[in-house]
Symmetry: none
Subunit: 201 residues, 4 copies
């Protein structure tokens, strides 16, 4: 179990009767299923995600999954949505140090088991559109927003030239990691520092 589900996430399928009748859902099953889903998703991609394997790994049955989510795609969405969102970092005003800190956080995140695989899964057409949307909203967008803030601040105070194509700088930061991973040469632990030096050389 590599990931912890976000604790505040509401129950995926709203109960028809808000007044809960009968036996209540076992919350431990939600967590175990989501964690197992993330593992499977990272290890085998969306296509290789097997509900029977998830149920087995979570110590429950397929039916318990279908009671909570309408299908495979929704389960994957929920699993990704349960990933903890990185907290905002302190800004020091030293842009290079700020970017270094952001990229170090990104690096730690993407190097978690299955992190790169998850990126790969999200790039595939087969993935459910809703799944990709949630992943972007919860994982990709916040990270981009934070990196962009650092870069824009640098442009404002003249650390970067005025005409800088901010979008490409931001995309190049995380993108260089993907490109190197795809080339079979994932960058080493000094990558965040090198990247920050490259941008603010």
């Amino acid at each position: 179990m590599q990931y912890a589900a976000a604790p505040a996430a509401p129950h995926p399928r709203e109960q028809p009767h808000p007044r809960e009748r009968g036996r209540p859902r076992d919350g431990a099953i939600d967590a175990a299923v989501l964690a197992a889903t993330l593992d499977q998703l990272a290890a085998n991609g969306y296509e290789g995600l097997s509900l029977v394997a998830v149920a087995r790994a979570a110590g429950t049955t397929r039916q318990a999954i279908y009671r909570r989510w309408p299908g495979k795609a929704a389960l994957a969405v929920a699993a990704v949505a349960s990933l903890p969102e990185a907290a905002d970092l302190e800004r020091t005003g030293d842009h290079r140090a700020d970017l270094h800190a952001e990229l170090a956080a990104f690096h730690r995140g993407v190097l978690r088991p299955g992190g790169v695989s998850m990126v790969g899964a999200m790039l595939q057409d087969g993935a459910d559109p809703e799944l990709r949307r949630v992943y972007r909203e919860r994982i990709v967008a916040p990270r981009r927003r934070r990196i962009r803030a650092v870069v824009e601040a640098a442009v404002v105070d003249g650390s970067l030239p005025a005409g800088t194509d901010v979008e490409l700088v931001v995309a190049g930061c995380t993108g260089s990691f993907y490109a190197l991973a795809l080339a079979g040469a994932p960058p080493g632990p000094d990558w965040p520092e090198r990247m920050a030096a490259h941008v603010f050389g």
Copy 2:
């Protein structure tokens, strides 16, 4: 196990005897299957790629496919790899124009049906190692080599500063595309030009 479908080796699986023994493969089947695979890939993505549908669309049988490629994944790689790889481009000496041309070729390639999906598949841990190796050798490495040549030439003649981190520049070129695709904002047709301008601003 060899999956390559290089244009110089018309039959996907290298024959152990260079002198071909037995009835030769029907090249029309190779072409029809690859074309049908690309269609299916574009229409339904990798997950929706069905060998029986491919065989039917190609007017042949599943067995003829399995004779050529060991399975669905290899077929998909072969289909993408079978598309005409951009020949080595003329160098004009104008580094910015050269990089623009290279990135335009990359852009065309990655926007082909299933191109991004293929990148995603190759980033996943579950992918067959041999498959990833072939993909890197046939697709990723040549492209990186060509882009690197342009960047290094620019460093040599002073168009880029001496201490430039060439690897990060190269990785940032294609990587920015991946990052934008992952963010749900795949760059538009002016991306090669913007990227070249960004590097050689």
Copy 3:
């Protein structure tokens, strides 16, 4: 591994938990599949028995068949074994009439569709040992036991000489049928009577 389809155990595979858990098997499928199998067996013989055709004729799927029997051979055995086994017959004390009745029952059984083919399959070295064991236990042994009882009773009361080789008499009863079938001259409907007369001439 249990193939038996005894009337007292309606589900072919014994459930590990005597208290049945989960959704129970649909008995109508068992019946429909066995009936379709017998039809196919009679029409095309064992070799021409196709599980997909059986499933289609039974209005179900191959998977439902594989849930019940491990394969084609076991299905064929179950089909033949599923037909009503002659109950123990009343002994009249008239040994000749008793033997006649037993052999008539055997005759009816072995003339059922696929009956002789099944005997042939069970004589072959390639047959699954477990399969042969079940066939012997459920089909062959009871019949032999009943015929032997008649013959032994005849020896006891002097209708047959004291030194009679009972085993050979019993084996000769059913065996003569096999020998004639092998010779391409399967005996006619008077065979049970002739055989009884031959033994108790």
Copy 4:
């Protein structure tokens, strides 16, 4: 290789031009294929007879088989027809000794590797009718004829009663072996003697 093909058997498929042109057939292939076919037939039955396995065991290819026989059924027929026919035995006039000798010959034959399996294969509906016909003519009928001759001679000279059902006596001789084999209790080496004693007790 358990069996030797009959040496005098003519080439299975007549050559269209009696004047042999081109490369002549390799007679060794005929023999090797027939022997391998008999082995496979005995080991796996007619259904389990695989031409690719036969070709491999015979050190040749499927095509060489199809050049000689039109298909699987014809190959099996030819293989069975190649079995050496047992020579007629000397009659001593001692009926019991004569029957003993005949049954001993039958016993030796049926105990050869795959002998019982071959009987089983011939009892199955799936076997080609022509195949069964040839087997009967070449193997079963001569044996029956010889045993019948002994029994009829015994009836003629009064060793057996006048009204004896000769057909059932003959069928019971070999049939008892089949019945015991089917019951999982194949008779031991004294069976020919016991059987002769049983008939002429």
